[in-house]
């Protein structure tokens, strides 16, 4: 039986309100203490623990702790801790509050055992995270935050709709595996709505732009914390509800490919990493779509390590931005001279995300590809290999190369501040640690029998991965040598969000102005009618009107006598 005080969602949410009441100097240490306390409560939980609650005749499970939620709660705690350290210098109340409240909502969602509880945390995650988008307080971030809110709330509405239909279908609210299609092959409307709701938060293709639109506009720490929670909460739910859904295989595969090209031509390195989030989540969703023991272990294990090395990449670009004021490739370059430690950590993140043997990405990514191989799905297997070369391009090479090498920007900033270095150092240690000694991570995976037989460091696995990556690096070196690698250019690259940001916006304004004209026409017409009625009434009943003219008293007396006479005759005749 879990108590309310065990729920990291509750602990961190309460903590978020406590810290804003504290003096600024105590905020970060208090955040660390609160997260530490929450982690201690988490360690006390046993797999299988849950809380059951009956409310208005509904059986709810506000907390359900199992193998899957354990893995995500652990890595979420790690991510929060790293971010608190990284952003140690930020004492701003709003950012500190959101940096605890938003992860709290995501953790509450992970622990939720029923859809109603999940919905509450789901909406809370949207409402708390938007403050991180708004935090730089410019018109640009305000507009991006509003767009972000619209999409997040739309996902919440879809979720609620799905829950209502599901409840009417089955009368049950427990979160469990669902089939996207009926036995007849038609989509089940409840499952479809839930699938799309979670899909919006996983940033499905064409529903993905909220990530690139909002994340790179936040503060340095805000971007890192945003990059972790929403999409990974969605991955967790997909694993819980839609494991083995074939549609996810293709959706995930498409997600691994298209961001590669947008990341290639993107100048803002934080935006490159936002595209990288799409690509990485694509690998996870493909693994979940296969639904085999190997691919599921691979997907959630990859989510765990990705949170760490993706944060590390965001942190190193953030550190360069902290010192130089920019994250644009055209304005960076040559920083290796004065930021060697940041460079080293960035390279570890880059090697990890590229899945070089010895680093975190390597030990779990192979499992996802094995899922494709076991299913004899050659096309998907090739797509995933292709996407692996793409990851190396934009996250493995482009990020460190354009930040620290490439053309010399002439900037000679100081090394990153100590707390940033500590946070990056810890992430780097974890990335290498998971790579060299993956057993503790493997012990957290859901399918233990499968993982017991898995040996990532088999000779052929190392050889094939090294061939793929080293020859891709060779291609890069030759492209640079022969000046075939495209130079970075400052630009805005249109993506699908252009549709709702330019023509969609124009259409919206057109519709609004049409409604305004219609209203004016209706209201104006009504006003005219009223004015006419008033004028006519005034004509007849006004001081000069026909009905307001004066009558002599004698005329009145005569009429009274006539009425009386008529009444007399009538009564006499009736009686």
């Amino acid at each position: 039986m879990l108590e309310l005080s065990d729920n990291p969602g509750v602990i961190l949410l309460l903590g978020a309100f406590i810290i804003i009441a504290l003096p600024t100097i105590m905020r970060r240490p208090a955040m660390l203490l609160i997260t530490g306390f929450s982690a201690m409560r988490l360690m006390g939980m046993e797999v299988g623990d849950q809380t059951v609650l009956s409310l208005f005749g509904l059986d709810l499970t506000p907390m359900k702790f199992d193998v899957l939620s354990r893995l995500f709660l652990i890595v979420f705690h790690i991510a929060v801790t790293l971010n608190i350290i990284y952003s140690w210098g930020v004492k701003n109340a709003t950012e500190c509050w959101a940096s605890l409240a938003y992860p709290a909502a995501a953790m509450g969602g992970v622990l939720a055992g029923d859809w109603i509880t999940l919905f509450i945390w789901w909406e809370l995650a949207a409402l708390t995270s938007v403050f991180l988008v708004w935090q730089p307080r410019t018109r640009e971030t305000y507009l991006a935050g509003m767009r972000y809110m619209v999409i997040q709330i739309a996902s919440g509405v879809l979720l609620l709709g799905g829950i209502v239909i599901l409840f009417r279908q089955s009368g049950a609210l427990a979160i469990g595996a669902l089939d996207l299609r009926d036995p007849s092959g038609l989509f089940n409307p409840a499952a479809l709505m839930l699938f799309i709701a979670i899909g919006v938060k996983s940033a499905f293709p064409l529903l993905h732009n909220w990530v690139q639109d909002s994340y790179p506009k936040s503060t340095l720490g805000g971007t890192i914390i945003l990059s972790v929670f929403t999409t990974k909460l969605a991955v967790y739910l997909m694993a819980r509800v839609f494991a083995g859904t074939p549609e996810l295989i293709w959706i995930g595969a498409v997600m691994t490919i298209f961001p590669i090209f947008f990341a290639l031509i993107e100048n803002d390195l934080r935006k490159v990493l936002s595209y990288s989030i799409n690509n990485q989540v694509g690998f996870m969703l493909t693994g979940i779509g296969f639904g085999t023991a190997a691919s599921m272990n691979g997907a959630v294990g990859y989510a765990f390590s990705n949170i760490i090395f993706e944060s590390l990449l965001f942190m190193s670009v953030g550190a360069a931005m902290y010192r130089t004021g920019t994250s644009k490739a055209t304005e960076l370059g040559g920083l290796y001279r004065t930021m060697p430690l940041t460079l080293m950590f960035c390279l570890i993140g880059a090697l990890s995300i590229s899945a070089f043997p010895g680093f975190a990405g390597f030990v779990t990514k192979g499992l996802i590809l094995d899922g494709a191989a076991e299913g004899h799905n050659f096309i998907i297997w090739l797509i995933l290999l292709f996407a692996s070369a793409g990851v190396l391009e934009h996250a493995g090479i482009k990020i460190p190369y354009f930040t620290f090498f490439a053309h010399d920007s002439g900037k000679r900033p100081k090394e990153a501040p100590p707390m940033m270095l500590i946070a990056m150092g810890l992430s780097a240690v974890l990335s290498v640690g998971i790579g060299l000694y993956p057993e503790p991570l493997f012990n957290l995976l859901p399918y233990q029998e499968q993982i017991a037989d898995y040996h990532p460091y088999s000779a052929y696995h190392i050889v094939e991965q090294l061939q793929l990556l080293l020859f891709a690096v060779l291609a890069f070196a030759l492209l640079i040598k022969f000046k075939l690698y495209p130079p970075e250019v400052p630009s805005t690259n249109l993506d699908f969000d252009w549709l709702y940001r330019v023509p969609g916006r124009a259409l919206l304004f057109k519709i609004v102005s049409l409604i305004v004209s219609l209203w004016r026409w209706l209201w104006g017409g009504a006003q005219e009618v009223v004015t006419r009625v008033m004028a006519r009434t005034h004509r007849t009943h006004g001081p000069e009107g026909t009905l307001a003219r004066n009558w002599p008293v004698g005329f009145m007396a005569l009429w009274t006598a006539v009425v009386l006479a008529v009444a007399l005759v009538f009564l006499y005749w009736v009686a």
């Binding site: 004899h376 070369a389 050889v463 291609a475 070196a477 805005t492 940001r501």
Partner: protein, 91 residues
Amino acid sequence: MSHHSPEDKKNIGWADHPAFVRGFLWFLYLSCAAALVAGFFWQKEHPHFAVETVPVFFAGFGFVMFSLIVLVGQHLRKLVGRPENYYQERE
């Protein structure tokens, strides 16, 4: 660095030093060669696809696909590239 005044030569970073660049490239060439040769010795015992039995498949695939991504992908810029303040002007 285009001009090489004595001052510049003194300030040249270690990664821009021709010796380092040469060393790095040689290290890369040798590693690639080693990985290529290793492909002939270690292969999957139970391959799922025929291509996995080709000793140099992964090397060739990595090289070609990376080059394709860069050489083809950059043309996407012509289609979607706009001035930097594109959205600021419209919102």
